[in-house]
Symmetry: C2
Subunit: 187 residues, 2 copies
Amino acid sequence: MAHPQTAGDAYSARDRILFTAHDLFYRDGVRATGIDRVIAESGVAKLTFYRHFPSKNALILAYLDYRHRRWMLWFADALSRHGGEVSAIVPAVGEWLRDPAYRGCAFINTVGELGGSLPEVVEIARAHKADVTTAIAAVLPPSRQRAKLAQAIALAVDGAIVRAQFDGTPDAALEALKRIVASLLKN
Amino acid sequence: MAHPQTAGDAYSARDRILFTAHDLFYRDGVRATGIDRVIAESGVAKLTFYRHFPSKNALILAYLDYRHRRWMLWFADALSRHGGEVSAIVPAVGEWLRDPAYRGCAFINTVGELGGSLPEVVEIARAHKADVTTAIAAVLPPSRQRAKLAQAIALAVDGAIVRAQFDGTPDAALEALKRIVASLLKN
DNA sequence: GATGATGTAGACAGGTCTGTCTACGTCAGG
DNA sequence: CCTGACGTAGACAGACCTGTCTACATCATC
């Protein structure tokens, strides 16, 4: 869950803006983070920013798009590292929830912040959750119930995401998630 | 899920402020809603507002406290109206998710908005979720696993809350929730 | 060597936000 | 009748936010 090769140190202005925006938006929220802050921390001029992104809303959408691509890559990798089967789901999620920078799901948080005023956000979030569900389905054993089962597990994962964001530690969330997944697989 | 007796029309200034803040904060988010808006819509003077609430943050905390009390009352009522047993959980939650004013969980949304900058919010949200879990446990059949089971169900309810907020309709969320609850009870 | 794309630095306008302040009204209880 | 609690109306300060603008630098390509 880190930006690509921080050592490379030769990023385009657009990428630096996007990486900085990602970190700030995710950590502090999109509304609490001002454009000026993003500009200052990415070491870019204001005009350069507005040449790449016509408005803050455009940056927010680019942030979510980037977040989605990065998170999906990480998730696929984590699943395969943990065996690529059903049993990989809880450990993979656990890895994320234990990340010190963990602050919940970027899409849940952003929808909560401006779902009402920026409808594209809801659309992107829905697409993200659909892709997560598909990724979960891919590690389930084939059966007629696979799609429904993946939906139920994905929903439980969202529950764990929220609970871990509230509690200081992800332990209770992971235990409950594990219980749900195990129970679903037995039926 | 409505304010107490709207017909009574003789509320204190403090209550009018609180009811208005509740509706605006829940619908539009706490950060997107300005104090001036709350003041204008509750038909109160600015000085009056600041006499009752020393700051916007204080109003936010009062909002969450009020929301918590009202929601718990509603939930207990809904559970008992649906039979007061395990089978009441999904229909009760469904009632809420179908409410036209439904915009997700006030606590999840507010933590997402300012969990970082206002730690009391996280504390209140955690206490709320703990109370919800207790209310769920109260309709479960007694067993050694009751507390753990209630935790798992509460986590799944949070998942359903989030999913219903994303999708236009709560149907998929309720179906998945139902599946999880049924599965947990069989083991 | 001219040109255009891309970059930096930073002033500025116009809006919105929170919180304070002045000035005035109403009314119940002693 | 008077005093203090509580209310209204609205100006104001100071901060912060987005987005535009001027003026200048760098550099690859034709």
